[in-house]
Symmetry: C2
Subunit: 492 residues, 2 copies
């Protein structure tokens, strides 16, 4: 009676799309590769944003807003960055439409309103921001500059997927400026820790912290740190990146500062970002064949109460009791909805809230009330329990914590069960084509080998884990010597 | 010793720019007509946004996010709307850059990556949203749809001014869908009331609620409601608009619903928005020749504490006492900063925080401490008072309320003192060229007369006030009969 969801076993990719669309997170739009984030999906993003925003502010950052457009001449100033993004840039070339003389009621681009210099719709904002920082930084007293921006960006992708890869997406991008290399590296690492903290403790998704190989670095970075998560189909997903940019952008935009001894030097930079892509990770990591499973700490709605009754008299009694429960839950800081819409039957509602991943459902029936009880169902395990109405709010608050922890532990067990070492090429390929997951294997350290492995298997080096164990070994492809294992996976 | 600010008397327009730039609200950018909103300005916007967002949610609205781009064919579907915005549209025509063979290290637009259909960067989102609503609305059960979006929009303006008129700006746009005309009109009026409540009670700026003449309506609306405020130079500023869109967009995008009797009808629509332009209004309405004057309820920083000392011993004593005060103020929900940066002298800090409009400044000197007193200065009146450290926090909390009220009352007196009736053309022109302000005058109700008055005087009809008094009279320009006065002003 609910909406049809394709099972994971049947078609994982379709299952994902079904959840996003039927779970009311997002919708396709009339614009190629762009999605509409629906109210339920946006409420989830707001909760994620609010937690992250507080974390950024608690670590000394402030928000600002920089232009959507980057003049081409600025965009191309940092060559590697420009080269990395040039192929996916939406470009504004004109600033006016006019009536189309050949088509009544239609418009055309006015050829007389051609821009002297084309404007790139920001795919990332290093260029426009470092061009601005040039005017803001003169002395060491102006440093550090710890600025974050919440914004939309556009990267023209050929194959798009809701949340995971869309032409336009929402994100935050931190851009910091420092007097020393050490301080910039510390910042890069600190923000990686903030991301890991957020993804693990709010999204209930365990991550591996590491650094990217030169091949996989952000265009223009000296070093890219990342957090990598594992999805239920055994593919990895990069959940956030933090870049040490060295002095590359300072040099490209000529941003120098005078230090305490009046010596001029280029400023050191970092940038770091997470995006609405995280919602895709959330869906794929925790959900099941009945719908979304959302971690209580970021769920738009934590508890739903559904009345089960016959006739107005029973309804009135349940309404009164539900009102009390709602009040007590709200006082305890829980977001709760009493759904007494009589257009839909309880069974339909149960399926709908399961689909939407509401962590706790309370069913209130007339007989339950007589016994001073309610039926409480948790979304993660689908377990149902009978709970006394006395102390129900306290029990629900505890239960939300249990669910948060259980979702995390389940994802962690899955990740651990699907992380393997491979010591030969055959083992490596067998693992990849079997369960997938993270594969720790030796690599000879050359970009050529990395490219070859990707070409042969579609697996990429997700990262070199931080605090990796040093261990002599032989590259799984070339047999050349290697001093540590790196983490491979097929990835989103 | 502070930063030089042009006085209002000397050059009002330059005074405004000085405040915005030197008060660290915003900066110019490398992109024509686009500004950078600096951290202090953005913190102000965040406070405004948070209050508004709560008001929207309290009135049943939810947030969502729609694409930045509008395909040209959708954009032109509602003809009046399209015609109204066509002249100021940034248009994306290509989706890729490539290396420029003629200029090493430079990029060029790749002519092979021309879009089949051009994309308009949204100047407003009715088109893309109503095209989406078509898929979301079938029955009266899907209505009302009460959705708001926080977003950036682009309107290619030829003459731009920081905050007041920029090519890109930040705003919110509500887009609602209703089953009946009456309900849509009620929504339009409700949101106008929300705006008036916000602008008056948080921004401390009195407004006049009214409806626009057909000439001044939003392109595509049946009726545009507005709130109008008066700036210190006697010019008016439209602070927010709420549009009753009738069935225009439903018809353009074929959005029908079946009512309870299974009869199909077009959906009724509203849209409403306020933008970062409000920050410009805030600056121009309240500030003085020493800098910004910010209403406590939305000021990024409400209280600053400046220590005045000689030597480490005094400093240590003041630090300890300041720590207590900060703690108590924070407990009372006040945002406060203790500025003990010893790179700057107290006098420099006083000027800097005056420039930035921090509502309350507390100076803590060694002698004050001996007497268990502090010097408290309020930004609005520049009054200084000696306050006992016992109960200082309570006094400051009260003072913030007093300042909020005083700023509002001052702006209201100014507005009332600068609102006049004109009964003849000469009176009208004299008032306009004199003190300016709002002028209530009779108008014959024709667009031709309205245009002629604008052409002759640059004054426009700001609105026909709601609940306007009916009164027989003669049009100031034509002498034709009129049944009510309307409100004229020169405007931003």
């Amino acid at each position: 009676m609910g909406k049809e969801i394709t099972s994971r076993a049947q078609d994982y990719s379709q299952w994902y799309n079904d959840l996003v669309l039927k779970g009311s997170l997002a919708d396709y739009s009339a614009v190629r590769g762009c999605m509409v984030i629906k109210p339920y999906g946006y409420a989830l993003w707001e909760n994620m944003r609010d937690v992250l925003d507080k974390m950024f502010k608690d670590t000394g950052h402030v928000n600002a807003y920089f232009p959507l457009f980057v003049p081409k001449s600025l965009f191309e100033a940092e060559e590697k960055n420009a080269e990395g993004f040039a192929k996916e840039c939406a470009v504004v070339t004109h600033y006016r439409l006019k009536a189309d003389p050949a088509n009544k009621g239609k418009l055309m681009v006015d050829p007389e309103a051609k821009l002297e210099e084309e404007l790139v719709v920001r795919p990332t904002s290093e260029a426009i921001i470092w061009n601005t920082y040039k005017g803001w930084i003169q002395s060491y007293r102006d440093l550090p500059l710890l600025i974050n921006q919440w914004a939309n960006v556009v990267r023209w992708e050929m194959r798009t997927r809701l949340f995971l890869r869309t032409a336009e997406f929402l994100w935050q991008e931190g851009h910091t400026a420092h007097a020393t290399k050490e301080e910039a590296i510390t910042e890069t690492e600190k923000m990686l820790d903030v991301y890991a903290d957020f993804v693990e403790n709010y999204m209930a998704l365990p991550v591996i912290k590491g650094v990217k190989t030169p091949n996989e670095r952000f265009a223009g970075a000296e070093d890219t740190y990342c957090i990598e998560a594992l999805m239920q189909d055994g593919k990895a997903l990069q959940a956030g990146t933090s870049h040490f940019l060295g002095q590359n952008f300072a040099k490209a935009f000529d941003v120098k500062f005078s230090d305490k001894n009046n010596k001029l030097d280029y400023v050191w930079a970092t940038s770091w970002g997470v995006s609405t892509r995280l919602i895709g990770a959330l869906v794929m990591a925790h959900s099941d064949d009945d719908g979304l499973v959302l971690p209580p700490k970021i769920a738009p709605l934590q508890v739903v109460i559904v009345p089960i009754y016959k006739g107005d008299e029973q309804k009135a009694m349940i309404d009164a009791k539900a009102g009390e429960i709602v009040k007590r839950l709200k006082q305890a800081g829980v977001s709760v909805k009493y759904d007494d819409n009589d257009n839909n039957r309880p069974g339909w509602k149960f399926a709908e809230y399961e689909l939407k991943g509401v962590p706790v459902r309370i069913a209130l029936g007339a007989r339950d009330l007589e016994n001073n009880m309610a039926e409480v169902a948790r979304r993660d395990t689908k377990e149902k329990m009978s709970v006394s109405l006395d102390g129900l709010a306290e029990r629900v608050v505890d239960l939300l914590d249990e669910i948060q922890l259980n979702i995390y532990n389940r994802a962690k067990s899955f990740r651990d069960d699907n992380t393997h070492e491979a010591n030969t090429w055959d083992e490596f390929v067998q693992l990849l084509d079997g369960r997938g997951g993270f594969i720790a294997a030796h690599w000879d350290g050359t970009p050529e080998t990395e490219d070859k492995i990707k070409e042969l298997t579609k697996a990429t080096i997700r990262c070199i884990p931080l605090n990796n164990k040093l261990e002599e070994g032989k590259c799984i492809l070339t047999g050349n010597s290697s001093s540590q294992r790196v983490l491979f996976a097929r990835a989103y």
